[in-house]
């Protein structure tokens, strides 16, 4: 079973494996981390079976090691993601993502009357609840919750 998985998304020598990404948010994760704009070798698999998520995605990025602050940016769309840091084909470190205290430029404010939806203002939220992610807009002070969450 394990071997089949490795076959579907080939192993990497050095880099980062992001596992347990909800399949429907794979491309959001790619976008948030800017993986569509780098030259490194990236392989991903999606709609893989997962007991926890139903269908999950996995991303393997060669030669890239993320800072914690960067990786926490995906917490909004992949709160259960797990990172394996690979060096010479071995997992040398495991990390989980953590919802940061402040979210800058990732989410859209759900208030249609918010300035961020009228002018080119980078959105900024204070995270008021990390469990069921709840964001308070720095500008209009309205709440955006998980159900209304849209990634820019």
């Amino acid at each position: 079973m394990k071997e089949t998985k490795q076959m579907s998304v080939s192993a990497i020598q050095n880099g980062t494996v992001i596992d347990h990404v909800p399949a429907n948010n794979l491309f959001k994760v790619i976008q948030i981390l800017g993986l569509d704009r780098i030259d490194n070798q990236i392989t991903f698999g999606t709609n893989l079976e997962s007991k926890k998520l139903g269908r999950k995605a996995i991303i393997k990025i060669s030669g890239v090691f993320f800072e914690d602050a960067d990786i926490n940016r995906i917490a909004l769309v992949a709160p259960d993601a797990k990172l394996n840091i690979i060096r010479d084909y071995e997992v040398v470190e495991k990390k989980v993502v953590e919802v940061p205290d402040v979210i800058v430029g990732i989410a859209k404010c759900m208030n249609p009357k918010c300035i961020t939806n009228f002018e080119s203002v980078t959105t900024r939220f204070k995270v008021v609840s990390k469990k069921n992610v709840t964001l308070k807009c720095h500008y209009c002070e309205k709440i955006t919750n998980q159900e209304n969450l849209q990634i820019i």
């Binding site: 080119s120 807009c137 500008y139």
Partner: protein, 310 residues
């Protein structure tokens, strides 16, 4: 010489009431008291204040302009976006970056929520939010606090009745959040459609403050220290029959004030339509016009604090 707190307030903006600590709020109220005693002084001579009113407002704009004029400052600005470059399609960003070259402080009202916070981040001069959509109107909150402290002698342990539109009214939300710093008991009186939103009740729950909700207040009015009236707007109701049913429940009449406490005062952010009957106006417990006058002194205190003059 300016005290340490005054120095800390210099060049800051006032966008939301939460921008000021309790100490800073009290400092503004103390300064307001000073301006009430002596409102005409040449403290702002040589200063230019821009009043940018992207949507019309009579009271707030005139109150600011009166406040600045009495202190010898000059006013530039517009009272309607139609008369400004905004009508030509200019962004708020460009308007602010241009105007802040012409003045020492910006007072702005704008229909879009968060616009004042954004302006305060790009302007090189302090920005005072005179209302951003349904979001914040902190100078109203400060003048309400001043009026409450002046009439009650304290802000501590009061029983405040908020009546009318508690769902959309930004003044009641800001005042509630500000008063929650002084162990206030709240009574919310509103029709079902216009009840205080859950997020604000949750805010009070987290602070362990007491609040009660009612649909009518004739039986409990004797407990109030402050009755804060607001307008119930017909257009807020999905069903016009519902409005007809409740519209008179939220009209305050002089006959209702018989058993109220001697210290009780009636406040209203104005404009009033019919929610306070005119027969209340002559009752000494009616305080809304004095409250509007306090707005001038409060705004003098705020402008001088942010300019580092007081």
């Amino acid at each position: 010489m300016l005290g340490i707190r005054a120095i800390l307030m210099k060049n800051r903006s006032l966008v939301s009431i939460d921008d000021f600590s309790t100490e800073e709020i009290l400092r503004i109220l103390d300064l307001t008291e000073e301006f009430e005693k002596e409102p005409t002084r040449k403290l702002l001579e040589g200063k230019v204040v821009a009043t940018l009113f992207f949507e019309p407002s009579t009271r707030t704009r005139l109150s600011f302009e009166s406040a600045v004029s009495r202190l010898g400052g000059k006013i530039v600005g517009f009272s309607d976006a139609l008369n400004s470059s905004v009508s030509k399609g200019e962004t708020l960003n460009d308007t602010i970056l241009t105007v802040n070259n012409y003045c020492d402080l910006i007072v702005m009202r704008h229909p879009i929520e968060g616009s004042a916070r954004y302006a305060s981040e790009i302007a090189s001069v302090p920005v005072i939010n005179a209302g951003d959509g349904a979001n914040q109107h902190p100078t109203q909150t400060l003048l309400d606090l001043y009026s409450i402290r002046k009439t009650q002698g304290t802000l501590d342990n009061l029983n405040i009745f908020m009546v009318g539109d508690l769902k959309y009214g930004r003044t009641v939300h800001s005042l509630m959040m500000a008063m929650s710093r002084w162990n206030t008991t709240f009574n919310f009186i509103a029709p079902e459609e216009l009840k205080m939103p859950d997020e604000f009740k949750l805010y009070l729950d987290n602070l362990g403050l007491k609040y009660y909700e009612h649909s009518d207040f004739t039986d409990i009015i004797s407990k109030a220290d402050i009755i804060y009236m607001t307008r119930v707007q017909k257009e807020r109701f999905s069903d016009p029959i519902e409005y007809e049913k409740v519209k008179n429940v939220y009209v305050l009449r002089n006959s209702m004030l018989k058993n109220t406490k001697p210290n009780m005062r009636i406040l209203h952010p104005l404009p009033r339509v019919n929610e306070i009957h005119q027969d209340v106006d002559s009752n000494p417990k009616a305080y809304y016009f004095e409250q509007a006058l306090n707005g001038v002194y409060t705004r003098q205190a705020i402008v001088c604090s942010l300019l580092g003059i007081k």
